[in-house]
């Protein structure tokens, strides 16, 4: 697990997973969309609490390696300000066969999204901004600071 303030380079990361015993590589990338829940997004900031994001991410990857017969698995998450189209998170997995590569890649991104102390603040075209709720809490909408007064 890695956290970086620099642009993610999926090609370079993929090459780190190369293995002559690997028959399948599955890569996932989360890109910054220009819209979310009906709002036009201009740019985005990730706040990451690194010590625990790294520890929890390493745990997620270790769980994937235990669950599935993998050769390699890695995840990199951005921190700081990102523009539309930038890669916010990359997950890469290699294995002998594709079943486990797909399953493990999916497992890792699902867990990373709900377990790592990472927060996303979207800045919208109309000037306001908001912290995006986690996926499990999505039915409650955004946690705009205005909306959570005591």
């Amino acid at each position: 697990m890695r956290i970086t303030a620099d642009r993610i380079n999926p090609d370079e990361l993929r090459n780190e997973l190369v293995d002559a015993a690997a028959g399948a590589y599955v890569g996932f990338e989360g890109w910054i969309r220009n819209h979310n829940e009906g709002e036009q997004v201009l740019r985005l900031e990730y706040e990451v609490y690194e010590p625990l994001a790294l520890a929890e991410g390493a745990k997620v990857i270790a769980e994937a390696v235990e669950k599935f017969p993998l050769l390699h698995a890695e995840c990199v998450h951005r921190s700081g300000a990102l523009d539309i189209g930038e890669c916010a998170v990359w997950v890469g997995v290699t294995s002998a066969h594709r079943d486990e590569a797909f399953a493990a890649c999916r497992f890792i991104i699902d867990q990373v999204k709900v377990r790592l102390p990472i927060w996303k603040k979207e800045h919208y075209v109309d000037g306001h901004s908001g912290w995006v709720n986690c996926e499990r809490c999505a039915e409650h909408g955004h946690t705009h600071p205005e909306a959570v007064s005591s």
Binding site: E56, V112, K113, L116, P117, I118, W131, C134, T143, S150
Partner: protein, 81 residues
């Protein structure tokens, strides 16, 4: 029993509290107790179940015990990726 607890706020909690860290003297047995005492600082609309907590840089359950001198990290709902 009153304990000295250092509390760290993240993301929306930090913006709401207006500070990222403070040390308070608080009557609390568990992490959940600390959260409840500080509701006015971090947006009480957020149910505990949506939030996470760490004690001294270890992820913890809300019913984990807090000790004098602990640092409690309050995490609003996460949204990686």
């Amino acid at each position: 029993m009153t304990k000295n607890i250092t509390v760290r706020y993240f993301a929306g909690f930090r913006e709401h509290a207006g500070i990222d860290k403070e040390t308070i003297a608080v009557e609390a047995s568990t992490a959940a107790d600390v959260y409840k005492k500080l509701q006015h600082r971090h947006g009480s609309a957020e149910p505990l179940g949506h939030c996470k907590v760490a004690i001294n840089d270890q992820m913890a359950d809300w019913d984990a015990a807090v000790s004098d001198g602990d640092t409690v990290l309050l995490f609003p709902p996460v949204a990686g990726g």
